[in-house]
Amino acid sequence: EAGVTQFPSHSVIEKGQTVTLRCDPISGHDNLYWYRRVMGKEIKFLLHFVKESKQDESGMPNNRFLAERTGGTYSTLKVQPAELEDSGVYFCASSHAYEQYFGPGTRLTVT
């Protein structure tokens, strides 16, 4: 069974540019989560999808972040325009119930 995959693994962009991160969950997992870890800090929850619907987006930092989940399958997280403080590792996780399986993360560097 394939695990959670994320693309790209690394992204370096300039301040003001746009970046789109992608997450492919484990097949059949209705729940999909995005988390972020800024250097030296805790991993923070961003949002939670149940199928294609946003269940909880209380962790999204501001309206420069837009998450979508097409047809309840893969998800994208777009940052537009990117700021320096958006740098960090973005994790995606999926679950059938409460046990979450994580992807390898996307390391985003904004210069």
Binding site: E42, I43, K44, H48, G59, Y98, E99, F102, P104, G105
Partner: protein
């Protein structure tokens, strides 16, 4: 809001020895889950062990076991017979026992197992 505290940023242990990683949490919930996740260097995070708050018995997975003290809100991880492959960042995490399964993480403890 829930908080999770890992007071040991870094720890080291000799191969084959036992080490305990600390975690405390704060919540007003009565139904919840606790987890320890492990992230080896340059690899993805994997679940090590989980504990349901309603269970009094401490969870065990091979060399990994927890000491769950509900009244004290403490959830420590014990690794027995440490192996070089146990070198990783360890995260303690909390989840409410409701339909929203978001995790609240501690800052992590970097464990190094020395040969």
């Amino acid at each position: 809001a829930q908080t999770v505290t890992q007071s040991q940023p870094e720890m080291s242990v000799q191969e084959a020895e036992t080490v305990t990683l600390s975690c405390t949490y704060d919540t007003s919930e009565s139904n919840y889950y606790l987890f320890w996740y492990k992230q080896p260097p340059s690899r993805q995070m994997i679940l090590v062990i989980r504990q349901e708050a309603y269970k009094q018995q401490n969870a065990t997975e091979n060399r990994f076991s927890v000491n769950f003290q509900k009244a004290a809100k403490s959830f420590s991880l014990k690794i027995s017979d440490s192996q070089l492959g146990d070198t990783a960042m360890y995260f303690c995490a909390f989840m409410r026992g409701s339909s929203n399964y978001k995790l609240t993480f501690g800052k992590g403890t970097l464990l190094t197992v020395n040969p």
